[in-house]
Every structure is written in structure tokens, then in C-alpha cells.
Amino acid sequence: MKAVDFDYEQPRSVAETCRLLGETGREARLLAGGQTLAPLLAMRLARPAVVIDINRIEEFQGIDAEAESVVIRACTRQSRALADPIVQSRLPLLAKALSFVGHVQTRNRGTIGGSLANADPSAEIGLAALALDAEIEARSATASRRIPIGDFFISPMVTALAPDECLTVVRFPLPQGAVGTGFREASIRRSDFALAAVAVQLVLERGVCRSLAVSLGGAGATPVKLTAIEHKLLDTRLGDAELAEAGRLAHDAIDAVSDIHASAAHRRRIAGALTMRAIAEARDEALAGRA
């Protein structure tokens, strides 16, 4: 099928984008990389009156290292982020997640902010952002605000963004110490939608886990933080017994869905196994001092 007829706007600044969004609101859709919006338009699941193309706005591009965080602007392409030395050295979890996002051809168009705002429950960028405790900056014509990632995902394809708000920036805080990260995903074929995926970031102090974040996606309505695991494993050395416990907690904690690709029971088993492997990967990386 072909998209419905729509008006096309190409604003030149963030301010102009916000003004247009304020005028059109629910009638408009922002077009970032378009790797989800274009199929939705083609299948007429989206029928906006106005498409606001923000691809060419310079203010929406780029990655900056700050003292205690890394800032990625909304329309930075996924392929650019994946190849970026700042991302590779300071956000290794995001780099690992990005290699699972779509294919080369879609990463060349797809954007970091677009994926977050799209809120697909199996999306890897949102999953990594949750484990990294990221913060979203959003702007409307009249105000701007910061949204903790934990409050951002509401349900499949629904976020905390209001119809007149635009995601401008995502900020990733940087942990201190012996950091390790792990990312594991299971899908029918590589780069297909995840049946389940797990992202882990942890900090060790003389081999003891002092900070741990585990997030799980693909299995339910939104990516979720597995805080029960975090509490249970803190101040341990992440030995085999603790990993097995983490796997059990992941298996039991998630609200998995059944669909044509996998049953809920299968997804829970995968989630348990991936959780153990991702924590082990992060632990070993922190011990080796590679992160």
C-alpha cells in the first residue's frame, strides 16, 4: 500500500519544529529516521495530516562528551553512534546494543531519538538507555523538561511525551570505577525483533558488586528494570549461585507475552538464561578492566 496524502514540513531549527508541533499537535507526526514511521504510513496504520521532517536540523545531530555524562542528540543516526569513538569508549553498553539494531541499511537512516520516541517494546536502544539510567530532554513551544527514562515508556509505542513535545536529547550518566557491561539477545534470526534481550551495567569494587542495573526487553509491553535482581546481587561477588538466583528471578519476574514467535513460557526461560549470561559478561569485563 501507499501512504495517505499528507502535508510535508521541513523546519530548519528545533524552535521551528516545536512551534509547528504546537500548531498541529495530534494531526502531525515527526519524521526522524523513518524506519518505523515509513512502514506505518505505507500500511496506513498512521494517517497524519502533516509530516514534520526533522532530518536536516543541525541542532538535532551529534554526540558530546561532558564531564559526567554523554549527550546524544535526537536525530543522530544509529550507524554514526555505533562508529563513534565516544560511544565505543564511554558507552560500551549502547555500542553493544546498537549492533543488534536492525541492519546496516536501517541503521544508516534510523536515529537514536527516533527509536526511543517510537517505544517499540523490543527495541535495543531503549533497553540500554534503561540500564544506563538515561534522561530524556523534551521541548515544546512553551517549555522544556527532563524525563527520567524510568518514567518514559508507558506501553507499546506510547511514551510520556505530550503531542506537542519533541524529544531533543538523551543524556547518559557515566558511572565511576571498574565498570562492566553485558548485552544478550535472542531472536529467530539475527537482527529480527528480540524474543527477549537483557542489558546489564555494573560496577565492581575489589571484585564485589557495588552497583548493578539489569533491564529486560522484548518480552513484555515495555522494557523493565529488574530491581529485585539488583537488590539481591548487590554486595556479592556475582558467583555461580548468585547468577543462578538472578536467572530464576528474571524468569519469575517478567510479564511475558505469547505470540506466533514464542510462548510466554519460552520467553521466560530465555530471559532467565540471557540474564545470567549478560551479568557474567559484565562481571568478567569489569574484572578484566576492559570497560
Partner: protein, 170 residues
């Protein structure tokens, strides 16, 4: 209806047109410009048959609107051959290795592989499989396609070496 004037370069030639906003780049190439080498498969970004190069990067032309390509350089399969009768080294390798049967996926495969070889003169099998991971083929099982791209890489690297001896097939 929202209409827009665009100017872009396609296979090295400047082209101007007036397009409706909802017209995808692949429909613009095929139906407005009659460049039917780019194939339309699924029309929602799954199959990779419509892959073209946009400013040197492989992208799915069904997921971009023509109006978005204004000012860009597009390369389609028609732009790969050096002249009207010849074929590129990569295209030749596809023939020799039997890397196509029905041919539907071939234009997309060629553009994805071409982009790989532009950036990586000695790709591993894993690099090749990663590069064409977004292109579906229902005939070959991919093995011959991977072999063809490896053969093209080898030939191109030898052809570009200071004293060139064209190799025999591996």
C-alpha cells in the same frame, strides 16, 4: 496535495522533478524516472530489494520519501556498470558464482555488497554476511552470494595492486 520541487543526483546525473510528499524514493526511481532496476519487494522495509546508495550509504528506498532525497546523491544498480554493455567486477562475480537465480533480490544485494567493498577491501565472511543481512534471497541460500562478494573483493584488491595479475577463481 503537498507537492515539492526537488533536485538530486542520480547515477551522476542531475535530475529535477516535482513530487508529491508521499511518493517514496523507490516509486520515484521506478515510475517517474523509469529506472526499474531497483526492485520493489515488500514496501515496508523488510526485504532489502529496494536498497540504493544515498550519499554513499546503503539504505532502503521504500523507507525514504523522494522529497527527503533532495540535494543528495543516489546510486542505483543502473549506476554500477562502467558502460552500457559492460558489467562491474562485482556484477561479473555474481554471474560466475551463480549468485542469482530469479534475480529479484540481486539489485539490492549488489548495492549492499558494493557499499561494503567501498569501505572494506578484504572483508571476512562474517563482514559479508553482516553487510547483506538486510537483504532476503529465496533462491540461493546465500552461499553463492557470499562467494561472489569474496571473489569480487579479491579481484578488486589485485586489480588495484601496483603490478596487477588477474587471479584465477579460488
Amino acid at each position: 496535495m503537498s507537492q515539492h520541487e526537488i533536485a538530486l543526483k542520480i547515477n551522476g546525473e542531475t535530475c529535477t522533478a516535482r513530487v508529491p510528499a508521499r511518493l517514496t524514493l523507490v516509486d520515484f526511481l521506478r515510475e517517474t524516472l523509469n529506472l526499474t532496476g531497483t526492485h520493489t519487494g515488500c514496501e515496508h522495509g523488510v526485504c532489502g530489494a529496494c536498497t540504493v546508495l544515498l550519499d554513499g550509504q546503503p539504505v532502503r528506498s521504500c523507507l525514504i520519501f523522494a522529497v527527503q532525497a533532495a540535494g543528495c546523491e543516489v546510486v542505483t544498480v543502473e549506476g554500477l556498470a562502467p558502460d552500457a554493455v559492460g558489467m562491474s567486477v562485482l556484477q561479473d562475480s555474481f554471474c560466475e558464482e551463480h549468485a542469482l537465480q530469479c534475480g529479484f533480490c540481486t539489485p539490492g544485494m549488489l548495492l549492499s555488497a558494493h557499499a561494503l567493498l567501498q569501505n572494506n577491501s578484504a572483508p571476512s565472511e562474517e563482514d559479508i554476511r553482516e553487510a547483506i543481512g538486510g537483504n532476503l534471497c529465496r533462491c540461493t541460500g546465500y552461499k553463492q552470494i557470499v562467494q561472489a562478494i569474496a571473489l569480487a573483493a579479491q579481484r578488486l584488491s589485485v586489480a588495484n595492486a601496483p603490478t596487477a595479475d588477474l587471479p584465477k577463481r579460488p
